[in-house]
Symmetry: C2
Subunit: 980 residues, 2 copies
């Protein structure tokens, strides 16, 4: 009746009146209302919906709006709401250890790296000329790792210790001359989660992981099948193994010794390299990176020169630029899966750059002396505690220790009581069994906490001063360290580790590096397939709240209810977004998601007696991680062609699916395709695969074009991953952290990855499928970013986001259409959220390659788009919704101006090979050089468009020479004499 | 006995073993241990103490070490300790109003300005070529103020609304042709603290402040003695006065109308300029600046073109650079007290630049539409509340309102009960009397809070939706706004306010401006007399904790126990540092401290029957604020000479002290002197003044050389101020915030400034002396910085700091001695913590002035030192303890290289007037210009030293033309056509 109507009207009016004004969508999206109108007009549409209809096949459009529970908070509300959830976490001091410790993060690093968009919004440094700052910092990281491990070839981070162990296994397999050398020994006293991930990894490679006690194991029994052996140094219970003899034994059998090392202890213990390790891996978390409930942290990987070209992941190398100056760059890229594809043995792409930078800066700030002091202090506390605990009648079971004790409780003392006393003091210890507890001390421990610890064990706290005075002040004099394992060699000898020890110097060093690097704080980074959208401050603020950052991954459930609620929200929301039924947030990157998803498929198939299904169809346009992940999951890759329009060749797909029907496990489809098009054959493709007994894996890297408009689940896919660091606002951090959740249909839900510490509500193991990450929820510490993004925008907002991303891309494509040919659009001439510009013709007409266009874009103040992927010698542009029309126009103006510069070459006005593109980018040093002998003017080089005089980002080196760097590989800080 | 000895040894060993490693002193000080040795050696000393003995007269050295209670926390401990204290503050939602409201600070501004050292460590933009970013932002601020007030000449901030009212009074007095025009009317319904500060200010100028009701006051009675009239718009109880008739009346009598305006309401109300105001002042706090328990916030000041050259404080103007491009700069500096000295009528120096930048950015982010929406939303809530409150039987007493209601409670309802109900909901209302309460809504208010408010008044919360639907959606249609006072004119029409509305664009705008500005994050800022030391992250972190930032200055005592404890600690510690007995932290700057200190002296003298004492001796070397403050305190300045060595001429002092003995009020001494020397005549000087009945005021700008070594109190001074933004680590923020506490001897303690809201423990007024700041504790919100600094370092650490500051200065002086003459050292050739380099000889020998050297230093990547103060045409260098030896050397190398460049001119190798100094600084555009016709090379211009190729900060404009800018004064954003 009337009153109902007016009640509704009142409610609506009141809602409008009372609505908060700090709404997020308009802050997140770049174009203003009026811009959108103009942009649509230029494309010939009246409304966004009309445009979407011309872009996305009707057949796949969602039939009802995306619904997100509790969405569309204003920014202030969001923070209040999340604070409420966060407060359900209880911040205990965790001495659980097991690979994770509390840290003292130097505030100057917290503020100026972790909380600084100038660092966290950087992209992977594929464009070295505008990335010298973080390249230097990552080289510092490699130097820290190489120094401490005593192994010369280190990489720029891996995802976590568990996957690093897996990568080490594969290096050992690859190094082996024979396929039959496929047994890998792992010591039982490695961290349980490391062993679990290792075992998962081994499966796909058909390797046998044999777990045993290294000191009694009969290696000879394995003989020439031994690929390698993994031991932990110190081990998970604290003992410091003497592995020299083991190294000899393993080497004698032709295998390699892999040592999981604790970076902090290496400051004072003999390095693995020195006692014969071939590979050292581990977690650098304790170099200043918060616990974050398990991640993100940077794992490290170091090895011998012999293994150098087998190192997985990214390696920073030293090379030179076109002016002959030193310049850093990503080295040995030919090892990576985007080149090696199904021959790759690692799928790592996004790693942990931001966290590696933090760890490196921690070492820079403390220096060799500072790090050693920290290590010795930890050890001194540990000695005091060990003695106090023994004095109280308990027994420290490990003969030797650095920072970790395994305490067998005195007769009649119950572990449960000890844990209860600990909990009263807001302290967590490691749960081992009913009469044994473990603990690991860290750099944050204080005298007051030591008193608590002694009391927890019923010891005499009053005695600790006397003990402290009595114990060895340094590791060198300590009886707890095996003779011969005290480090004699120097650490961190490079001057970079001795220069920046005051906060002022440190701040300036960070700032100086930052200013060499183009981040989203400077300009658009239109990287196709990477979705460099806004990483909003409101989304980032919560990750450094102690309630999220100071939680140990194995903290008891009652302390992590806030995380549980947030993760459950996320699992539900991600399932809603993807149209799936269940989610895991465990994978630490998109590639890990792929691998996890394929494993779930295989586990499901095994569960219905189809473990023989081992064929994975992969389109030739797929991202390199796809075939690599398939191989890692033990699948054989069969390539499916694409047609000339960039669409899946359905005939080829059908033929291959039929041919392999008996063994077909899965197809991997990226949607919209890596060519940036919503292909309408997708439903048919899915049908073909299903008809032939296969499952459909959808690569979600391009989800930003789908959210709220269609979904993998809606289309019929069985599983997909998401790149939260693309679609869902986690910053790229210069190449990580990443979060790559997978979402699955109901039948796959039981086969999501488990974890030794992951349980169902009833306490039973979450899953029988092995973990893909060391921590149960992967990089849990950055999940608040995605949670916030989703809850700020809600279903409606995220749908607007997708539309705007598509609008921005098509607006640009349309502006550039007359100047470049746009590869691969649909029948209405529309691209999805990205598009490929064809630069191939210019090779013939002007001697210009995609790389020349890319480098020249740097002169216009932009980060170049994705280069030569997925089509060689082209560039792929993805603006994202967060870019304003002004910024899109600035970029298009630059591209058009570059086209004119190419035309000058075509018309003979600039010589081929000696023109403003071939010499790009131009540094300040170049354009202010005394001599100027170029065929173009300084002004043209420096300020090709007038607005650049007002605002321009300058490359800090000239074009970097890749070949030189790969031939003369240097991947730690070069000696000082090179610094002149 | 033996056991006692060994107990002590055990305790010491344990203390060492358990000591935390994140100690602060070594992070704060620049030089490393080994550097210090080398530096001392070069100066001919073995120890720091030996050096100090040669620097500071024995006669004034402290006889026991400086003691600070609970000092020397490690960084992590410090934060934990301060968090504990902070948690004693209770964060209520404060609707107290009275000039302060809660805000929604856009997170992008929080993170990238307030929490960003790139912004908060900037110095006042006296060097425009390396300050164009914040100059642009401050110009935006002036434009916001000019636009909203409707008055064209705005300045770049004042300290607070109260002092701004005082400044306005003085402008009115100065504008008057006759001295007898000295009556100033103030409406009774201005904020009480504004009236209180105004009255204090009037005293020194012999002006009469008459407080009355503007609507009934008989102005004709005052006639031509009327200098001006001050009214509040809206007034303190919310009423929106119609002041057009008043303006006419005041103008008819020859006075000026000053309007205290609320910036937010001006977005929707007619501007003061439109109804005839001559001056508008107020607080810009509600444009995104947190409450901070009363400050810091930027006050604004805008006036007519006729008053333009009388505007107090700093004004940003538009000028051009040597290349003819637009460039911003500080305009009209000849108005300032460092030029006008005792003829100055304002002592403002440090203002509130950082907060003005935040307010400006808030306007940039929201734009005209956004600001209007916020204002309208506030008003809509207020209408709803007004109606709900009236429906509950209460009476809203103000006829009109924007956001503030004065509620006369219904019969039988007690204000105490209302406040109690509010407190249950963690809400504060304004206390007016037993049956009246006040409240002011703000942009942060939510529907939920409105429900609470209605409930607090016993109203029907269920009815608010209907009310919201019924009330006027905008001010334009609201019956609560007087007819004719709805704003018709546009606001914020400049494009800068419409471009940066997405977070991405905003972030880039902030970054782009930041990158034009040299801050401590880039290089040393060796400004003599400014002490640009490290502003450590740990010190800054607490200021954005809600427990400190979200407290209303008039919140009840039980909610502010954390602040009370911290402020009491500070008062005690500052007294210990200065050797005094009592402290107030109220003054918002050093200059306000001077003024407050002199007023305390005068009040004390009055209390002993000596109000006639009105002579203030001021050395001719004094900072300009000294004579200006003396004049403001109603004193007559008598100048005392300095001798050729820069010391106080004791004979002249004695002669003048004797001559004026009968009326001698005080002397102002800066120590070490502004010439940078510890004069040993200081004790005699103090004695002379005391002997002649005067009090001794010590200017503490140079306290960084004294702490722990000597002190004003120890020397015999009666009162001193401290510049916490110099000595005690509060960042300069590009020209504010400042904190200028004063410390006094016992006899002066009762005469420290009071405040209407400042009480003794027994509830009686704290002091009968009027306040000098609008808030009881001034810029309380940044006091955690100083508290942290002191508690991190302790007495021992601060003493080391002073020694190191002196070492650094002497090290530099010694390195530069052979190249420049150093003015004013003591008999051992030692300077204090700063020194003056004489550039005067180069005028004759090379046509080079101090300014040329300063600008050339920019080419070397440095911020120039203080120029032409205290000695014209010299430069004064103060490195501070935070600079490393490397940085000192880098600076010395630059100065030495510049000396060689001057020599080239002297030797005729470069022409006078057309050389690398006279054309400095050089921009990238200059050194990459097509044509090069200079007498020196591009390389010499750009990279005079090799390390500059690796790292260089570039000026963004060429030398700025001051004269042009002052003649063609433009002090709001220039129209767009100028932007090409
Ligand atoms: C299509 C596609 N799939 C997978 C990935 C791998 O994702 P990640 O880097 O998170 O491992 C990418 C990364 O760029 C991608 O573009
Ligand atoms: C010697 C001296 N006194 C007083 C002041 C004024 O201090 P403030 O700028 O805090 O008002 C200064 C500022 O530079 C100074 O150097
Ligand atoms: O004026 C100063 O900011 O010290």
């Amino acid at each position: 009746g009337e009153s109902a109507v007016s009640t509704a009207a009142v409610t609506a009016a009141a809602a409008e009146a009372f609505a908060p004004l700090d709404t997020f969508l308009r802050r997140h999206n770049g174009p203003r209302e009026s811009d959108i109108e103009a942009m649509l007009h230029g494309l010939g549409f009246k409304t966004l919906d009309e445009m979407i209809s011309a872009t996305i096949p009707d057949s796949i459009r969602l039939t009802s709006p995306l619904h997100i529970a509790d969405g569309e908070y204003a920014e202030r509300e969001l923070l209040a709401k999340l604070k409420q959830i966060a407060s359900k976490n209880q911040v205990f001091r965790s001495f659980i250890g097991t690979g994770y410790t509390d840290v003292v993060l130097p505030p100057v690093i917290l503020r100026n790296i972790l909380e600084n968009p100038g660092w966290y919004t950087q992209y992977t440094p594929y464009q070295p000329e505008i990335s010298q700052g973080r390249l230097e910092s990552l080289l510092n990281y490699q130097t820290v790792v190489a120094d401490l491990t005593g192994l010369p070839a280190a990489n720029a981070s891996l995802l976590d210790e568990g996957t690093a162990a897996g990568e080490a296994l594969v290096v050992c397999l690859n190094a082996a001359k024979k396929k039959t050398r496929n047994v890998f020994f792992a010591d039982v006293n490695c961290h349980p989660q490391t062993l679990a991930v290792l075992k998962t990894r081994a499966e796909g490679f058909g390797a046998d992981v044999v777990v045993g006690d290294y000191s009694s194991f009969d290696f000879v029994k394995i003989g020439d099948r031994l690929a390698g052996a993994l031991v932990s140094y110190p081990d998970t219970y604290g003992n410091i193994g003497e592995y020299k003899a083991l190294a000899d034994k393993v080497h004698d059998l032709g295998g390699q010794l892999v040592v999981v090392a604790d970076l902090m202890s290496l400051a004072v213990l003999q390095s693995p390299g020195e006692f014969g390790a071939d590979i050292a891996i581990g977690n650098s978390q304790r170099f200043g990176v918060p616990l974050g409930y398990g991640g993100p942290h940077a794992a490290f990987f170091a090895t011998t020169t012999a293994n150098q070209r087998r190192v997985p992941g990214r390696i920073i190398g030293v090379s030179r630029d076109a002016s002959g100056n030193r310049a850093y760059r990503l080295a040995l890229q030919t090892r990576e899966q985007h080149i090696r594809r199904e021959k790759a043995s690692s799928n790592i792409c996004t790693a942990q750059a931001l966290l590696a930078n933090m760890a490196a800066m921690y070492a820079v700030y403390h220096g060799p002396e500072g790090i050693r002091n920290i290590a010795n202090r930890i050890h001194r506390f540990t000695q005091v505690l060990a003695q106090a605990v023994e004095a109280a009648g308990h027994c420290v079971e490990n003969r030797s220790y650095f920072d970790t004790l395994r305490v067998k409780l005195a007769d009649g003392v119950n572990a449960a009581d000890v844990h209860a006393r600990a909990a009263e003091r807001k302290i967590n210890l490691r749960r081992i069994d009913a009469c044994t507890v473990g603990l690991t001390l860290d750099e944050a421990v204080s005298r007051e906490e030591l008193v608590h610890l002694v009391e927890i064990f019923g010891g005499n706290a009053a005695g600790i001063d006397a003990l402290a005075a009595a114990v060895a002040p340094t590791v060198a004099e300590s009886a707890a360290i095996p003779v011969g394992l005290v480090r004699q060699s120097a650490i961190l000898t490079h001057p970079v580790f001795s220069r920046y020890h005051s906060e002022t110097e440190m701040l300036r060093y960070i700032t100086q590096l930052q200013n060499k690097d183009l981040s989203l704080a400077n300009a658009m980074i239109p990287l196709g397939s990477c979705t460099m959208k806004l990483n909003a401050t409101t989304e980032l603020i919560p990750i450094t709240w102690p309630e999220f950052s100071q939680i140990h991954p194995f903290a008891p459930r009652e302390q992590t209810r806030g995380y549980a609620q947030m993760i459950q929200d996320l699992e539900e929301d991600l399932a809603a977004i993807t149209g799936m039924d269940a989610t895991t947030v465990q994978p630490n990157s998109g590639a890990q998601g792929e691998y996890a998803g394929l494993r779930s498929i295989r586990a499901y198939q095994a569960s219905i007696g189809q473990e023989h299904r081992n064929i994975c169809l992969v389109p030739d346009s797929a991202h390199g991680t796809n075939p690599a992940s398939a191989v890692m999951a033990g699948l054989k890759v069969v390539i499916v062609k694409c047609d000339a329009k960039g669409n899946l060749d359905l005939a080829d797909l059908e033929a291959k699916a039929k041919k392999h029907a008996a063994n077909l496990s899965a197809v991997m489809i990226t949607y919209p395709s890596t060519f940036g098009v919503f292909e309408d054959g997708v439903l048919r493709a899915i049908e073909i695969v299903h008809d032939n007994g296969g499952q459909v894996y959808m690569d979600g890297a391009n989800m930003n074009a789908q959210v709220g408009l269609t979904s993998p689940g809606h289309m019929g896919a069985d599983v997909c991953h998401l790149n939260n660091h693309k679609t869902l606002a986690i910053p790229h951090g210069g190449g990580g952290p990443g979060v790559g959740p997978i979402c699955v249909k109901k039948h796959l839900a039981p086969f999501l990855p488990g974890h030794p510490e992951l349980f169902k509500a009833d306490g039973s193991p979450f899953s029988t499928v092995g973990p893909v990450s060391a921590a149960p929820y992967g990089s849990a510490g950055v999940l608040p970013v995605t949670w916030s993004y989703i809850k700020l925008l809600g279903g409606r907002g995220m749908t607007e986001v997708s539309k705007t991303a598509i609008l921005n891309a098509n607006y640009m494509a349309n502006r550039l259409r007359d100047h470049y040919s746009i590869l691969f659009t649909n029948e209405h001439g529309m691209c999805a959220h990205e598009f490929i510009l064809d630069t191939r013709p210019f090779g013939k007409t002007a001697g210009i390659q995609a790389i020349d266009v890319a480098k020249r874009l740097q002169d216009y103040g932009f980060h170049p788009p994705t280069m030569s992927w997925p089509v060689p010698n082209t560039i792929m542009v993805e603006p994202t919704e967060s870019e304003s029309k002004e910024e899109l126009d600035r970029f298009c103006d630059a591209m058009i101006a570059i086209r004119e510069e190419i035309r000058e070459i075509e018309e003979g006005k600039q010589p081929v090979g000696d023109n403003v593109l071939s010499h790009a980018p131009h540094t300040i040093a170049t354009v202010s050089a005394e001599e100027w002998t170029r065929s173009y003017s300084r002004q043209k080089a420096a300020y090709p468009l007038p607005h650049l005089k007002e605002r321009k980002f300058w490359p800090s080196v000239s074009r970097v020479d890749d070949t030189y760097g790969d031939i003369n590989l240097i991947c730690s800080c070069p000696p000082m004499e090179n610094y002149q």
